[in-house]
């Protein structure tokens, strides 16, 4: 191993460490964190933890996975921490300063990868609160096509997962990304995914969030000319869970389209935040952006804060946004009951129906089945 990457890593780590010292943990006085109080994370004493995620043992031709520290130094220096900025995001700074190692994934130019590449990040508390800073850099070559699944899960206890993923999608690439978050009940989960899209790329993100006590997902995409970017999201929270989804779509260049649909189901005393920012820069004429956030609130004690944030600097664009907050339709419940379907089943059927269009957009059959199972278990549990 050459000395170069180590020194590059040392340099960014040091920068990030200083930046985190300056920033500190955000508070609810920060606009971006207004409804998400991270004091429980700031207060907790975590013990360090290492370990790399599980990834496929056998890789198809065209895919290369290595430890970040063993990645080609020139590529590392060219891309790592170039997109996910730690200047204004304390958690990204914390991750950059502290990640022990991470994964470097490269998809070769023109490679068409049929099977999903699944990364499983499993945390365990081992009696003490632990912390992990998963770090992933994905470079998809031009004209490549791949499906990536990041799965975050845990086997109980108090722990904090602070993940950063950077994806660079080459020109004309087609990338499907799934994030399945089923952390343990007491876990904290903060994650930033920063996506840099080349010309005419087609990128689809599906953020599926069910676990954790306190969860924050940031998904940020920067679009080039002719891109098509889809951000889908589904969250189901119950009990005292809190989930915050922040997305930013940066239309930097003309003729790009973005479609965003986030759906949330809230039960018990849970709370959720959706903040969807769309930035259409001056150059980005003919932008077509559509954002929708729909929430189904199952209890009177649940709280949702939803906010579109549109900044449009170009003048020939189409941008639409809408947010809804609703309850289960009592007429529909009665209709189902009147056909012999029990009240609990009728409610679940309608909740499934609400989530249906997100579930249907998942192209990986095994993931779709897993999701249906998770929904079923979670709905069953949330009625207690």
């Amino acid at each position: 191993m050459t000395a170069a990457p180590t020194s590059f890593l040392e340099r960014i780590r040091e920068d990030a460490k200083q930046r985190f010292s300056a920033l500190g943990y955000p508070t609810t006085h920060d606009e971006d964190w207004r409804f998400t109080n991270v004091a429980p994370i700031a207060r907790a004493k975590f013990e360090g933890r290492t370990g790399l995620p599980a990834c496929p043992a056998e890789l198809p031709p065209g895919v290369e996975i290595s430890k970040l520290t063993e990645a080609p130094p020139d590529l590392l220096e060219a891309h790592l921490a170039r997109y996910a900025s730690f200047q204004n995001n304390a958690f990204v700074a914390l991750n950059t300063a502290n990640f022990h190692d991470g994964l470097f994934i490269r998809i070769a130019k023109g490679a068409v990868i049929e099977d999903p590449i699944e990364l499983v990040f499993e945390s365990s508390a081992n009696g003490h609160p632990t912390i992990a800073h998963p770090r992933t850099l994905i470079l998809a070559g031009p004209d490549s096509q791949a499906t990536i699944i990041e799965s975050y899960t845990g086997n109980g206890g108090h722990y904090f997962t602070n993940a950063v993923t950077e994806i660079v999608a080459g020109d004309h690439s087609v990338i499907d990304h799934y994030k399945l978050q089923t952390e343990s009940a007491h876990a904290f989960h903060v994650a930033t995914m920063q996506v840099q899209l080349g010309r005419d790329t087609n990128f689809r993100s599906h953020s599926l969030s069910f676990g954790g006590a306190l969860v924050r997902n940031d998904v940020n995409a920067v679009l080039s000319q002719g891109c098509e970017c889809t951000l889908n999201g589904l969250y189901l929270v119950a009990g005292e869970q809190h989930i915050d989804n922040h997305t930013t779509i940066d239309h930097a260049k003309p003729h790009a389209a973005s479609h965003e649909l986030y759906k949330g189901i809230l039960a018990g005393r849970s709370s959720a935040v959706f903040n969807g920012k769309i930035l259409v820069r001056k150059d980005a004429q003919k932008t077509d952006a559509k954002q929708t956030n729909k929430n189904l609130v199952l209890s009177e004690d649940a709280v949702i804060n939803t906010k579109p944030e549109l900044q449009i600097l170009a003048d020939d664009v189409r941008c639409t946004h809408g947010a809804t907050i609703g309850q289960l339709d009592t007429e529909a419940i009665f209709y189902l009951q009147s056909r012999g379907i029990g009240l609990a089943d009728a409610r679940n059927l309608l909740i499934f129906a609400f989530a249906r269009d997100i579930v249907d957009r998942i192209k990986v059959a095994s993931l779709r089945e897993q999701l249906e199972q998770i929904l079923l278990e979670k709905l069953h549990g949330s009625r207690n």
């Binding site: 189902l336 012999g340 029990g342 609400f354």
Partner: protein
Amino acid sequence: MSLLEIKNLHASVAGREILKGIDLSIDAGEVHAIMGPNGSGKSTLAQVLSGRDLYQVTAGEVVYNGKDLLEMSPEDRAREGIFMAFQYPVEIPGVSNLYFLKAALNAIRKHQGLSDLDAMDFLALVKERMALMEMDQSLLNRAVNTGFSGGEKKRNEIFQMAVLEPKLAILDETDSGLDIDALKIVANGVNALRSPARAMIVVTHYQRLLNYIVPDFVHVLAEGRIVKSGGKELALELEESGYVGIEEVVASA
């Protein structure tokens, strides 16, 4: 004993009394038409029988198949064989007609101590009953009533009834909004389901439907009471004189 025995039924919505003492007895195999002007309580009666909780029963009793109907949840009423064809069928986006029907049929079968119908048998049953209603099979995979025309919704109701095979069917203004062709299809479907084991209550404002579904008895409801009962000829009489005469009867009572 009658299949359905309604005694002195009073029901209110939001504190306003709509049904003011209904007495009605229905035997298996009979078709009873309930007619009456708008606001007379026809639909309220249908909804109360199916268990809609918008209505409060303030007095009276309803015995169905020897059981206290008013104590039963809507789903248990359905499982015990009551089916109401809705005046306004509800759209349920995201739930396919096929999945919905299967869930309904299996819930009813479970209640009867039967196992789930296997997929092949279920599909065969569904296709046969669809043919009866002259419905396009593509409707099976569409979401329940979502984007259906008014006629398709009403046909879908009778189709569900044909699959679920109730003991007591309540048709709440199933004719409203139907053109004559759709009306004939609906009526044919209903007639095909007439049997000595099944009773029907046909709630309608117009006599027209009763040309196609010929009732055994006709009851006229006005201001929350049955003011006149008779055979099928009563419907024709109403067709000629309208409800004006009926309202006079109520006023002078």
